[in-house]
Amino acid sequence: MKRLLLGVAVATLCVSAQAQAQVDGFRPVTENMLREPAPEDWPNWRRTDNAWGYSPLTQITTDNVGQLQLAWSWAMDDTGGQEAAPLVHDGVMYLPSPRGVIQALDAATGDLLWEYRPGTTPRVDGSPTTENSGLPQGAFAGVGRGVQKNIAIYGDMIYSATGTASIVAVDARTGLQVWETQTADPALGYFYTAGPIVAEGVLVTGITGCDRFKEGVCFITGHDPRTGEELWRTSTVALPGEPGGDTWSDLPPEFRAGSDAWIAGSYDSQTGLVYWATSQAKPWARAVRGAAGDALYTNSSLALDPQTGELVWYYQYLPGETHDMDEVFESVLIDVDGRPSLFKMGKLGILWQIDRATGEFIQATDIGYQNILDVDRWSGRITYRPGMIPEMGVEISMCPSTSGFKSWRAMAYSPQTEVLYIPITFNCENATFGPTEQVLGGGGTGPVRRINTPHPASGGNLGELLALDIRSGEVVWRHRTRSPINTAALTTAGGLVFAGDWDRHMYAYDAETGDILWQSRLPTSAQGFPISYMVGGRQYVAMPVGSGGSSWSTMLPRDLIPEMRRPNNGNSIHVFRLPD
């Protein structure tokens, strides 16, 4: 018996040693390294707390970017939608793949250092990990499922949030799992697509999957990074009896759906606040959800104390939103003429500027593509246009469609030009909203009879990279593409902007003029969050490509640019640098 146990132990050790290489000389990531990243590194999902998506590296410039060439590429898991936001720390890329897979790669060569694969990679004590699935593998690449956008690095661990509503810590040296904490029941529909951020030593994470009626609402949590212990939990829905609880008519809590927190937030060490935004209410249309009120805290920015989860202030962009016009996306923090501001753009294509210290409204710029409502530039008040509030069973023609002009593809900011670079997709829709069942397990977004139509001002294009001046909101330049601009934007101090489209193009633009200085074709749609970093004195630009990606990448191209085709697989990352 004793011998048998020893045999098992030896076998376990051998497997671990074989499967897992190591990150040699790993330097733990301090709070300060996250707040003030080394120029070479990309340690937060948008590199810095302010979500600029900006690299200060200057080796690749407007003058030499035309010489970029492939340094390496790496095939990622094809078992789910690919929307990766890789991290780089000390020359190692930590790459989130679909279905919870994380890989550590040598960022100069693409060589694998370790892989964390839920259900296969063991815990640090050798015991098995939970398979992060619970859902069939073959179909996991569906819309929104299997997606793992961002991860976080802090101390000596990598943190992720899973498709089965868990937060996971993995040893950054070995890829072995250190802890896993489930925050909600995935059988109720809860899951994560966005990972945590780290603020003041706390892991802050927002959950999604709140479209169906259930006991429980969406929430943002704070966890202890060392132990996985939950420190606080803040609901994203105002419940009866709470402040704002009367904004859902008299709906009981189980019918207050939506307000999903499915995009990672930002942090400001000056204000000491985490900024996390929320999605629209569910069902989408007021007439369907049976509530006429503002539905707090849907479609809002929430300013949270990362130590306690206390809601310090909120700003609701679209009170009582009623067309699936999500405002959940990235919160870009910029100081404008001394005013600490938060910039946000949602599906409607309205650029909002609010004071991030107080939550006070500053200004709104409607880029002029939507036909649903009017927004007062200086008060932020919205007024729905006549006939545009959906009634059950009555068709309306709306721009954008429920796909939105803006989506999870994050905009980037350049402090050199003081311009925001915004990935846009043009689309409109003839929409007829219909009923759902008002029972537990029912609800959802509500059915829509939908006909996708081209946008009248698009000139037949679906894509646009839009450069907006942050002060005036005026268009500095725009680059239109037949297919959607399908990635986040990346800015660099070399005077460059990088983005890619659904039709497999990757572009390097002159940030000032919008001139295309370099382009390449990729195996499938450019998709995810491009980054830039430096290893061994060489600057690299990494572009994820792949499938999934929701309606911008599936339904819209299918219906509106049917002559274009791309492979429905091919998740991978492609890394470029200047020649030797």
């Binding site: 929104g144 169906r212 059915p447 009879r449 939908r450």
Partner: protein, 157 residues
């Protein structure tokens, strides 16, 4: 009596069909219901129980990750049962439902399953919506499927 006669006729029609499903035309996005030239409805026993039974596993494998095990859908995937399903599909033909599913689903790999799997899945969806099974298996014949209307209540329109 009338219903029973229709069922018999449908069985004959189903058993006599040739499989022409592969050449079914592309459809556009689900739009306003267009009344098909329907002779039958989904209440006439248009699939076999065994077919719906096979559809359970096919659905679990190919559909449930988005449309959920209970077919009620998720944020980006519409419900395939009940009032929400009927809101989109009432008055349209089974041919349109079948072709839409076959040419668009799964989203990441449209038209990637055998035709028989798509039929099994459609049968399972019909079963979960409470439409009765019949004696013959549903086949991928546009001429037949286009004559079967999706309607809310037996005898209703």
């Amino acid at each position: 009596m009338r219903t029973r006669l229709r069922r018999v006729t449908l069985s004959l029609l189903l058993s006599a069909t040739a499989c022409g499903g592969a050449s079914a035309p592309e459809v556009t996005s689900p739009g306003p219901a267009a009344a098909p030239d329907a002779s039958f409805s989904v209440w006439d026993g248009v699939y076999a129980a065994a077919q719906a039974g096979r559809g359970v596993a096919q659905y679990a494998e190919a559909c449930s990750s988005c449309h959920a095990e209970d077919l009620r859908g998720n944020s980006n995937a519409p419900s395939l049962v009940g009032v929400s399903f009927l809101f989109v599909w009432e008055g349209r033909s089974l041919e349109e439902l079948f072709t839409t599913i076959r040419t668009r689903m799964p989203t990441n790999a449209p038209n990637s399953l055998p035709v028989s799997s798509y039929l099994d899945i459609v049968a399972y969806i019909l079963e979960r919506n409470g439409y009765p099974a019949g004696s013959s298996e549903m086949e991928a014949d546009p001429a037949v499927l286009s004559r079967i209307a999706i309607i809310a209540r037996e005898g209703g329109a």
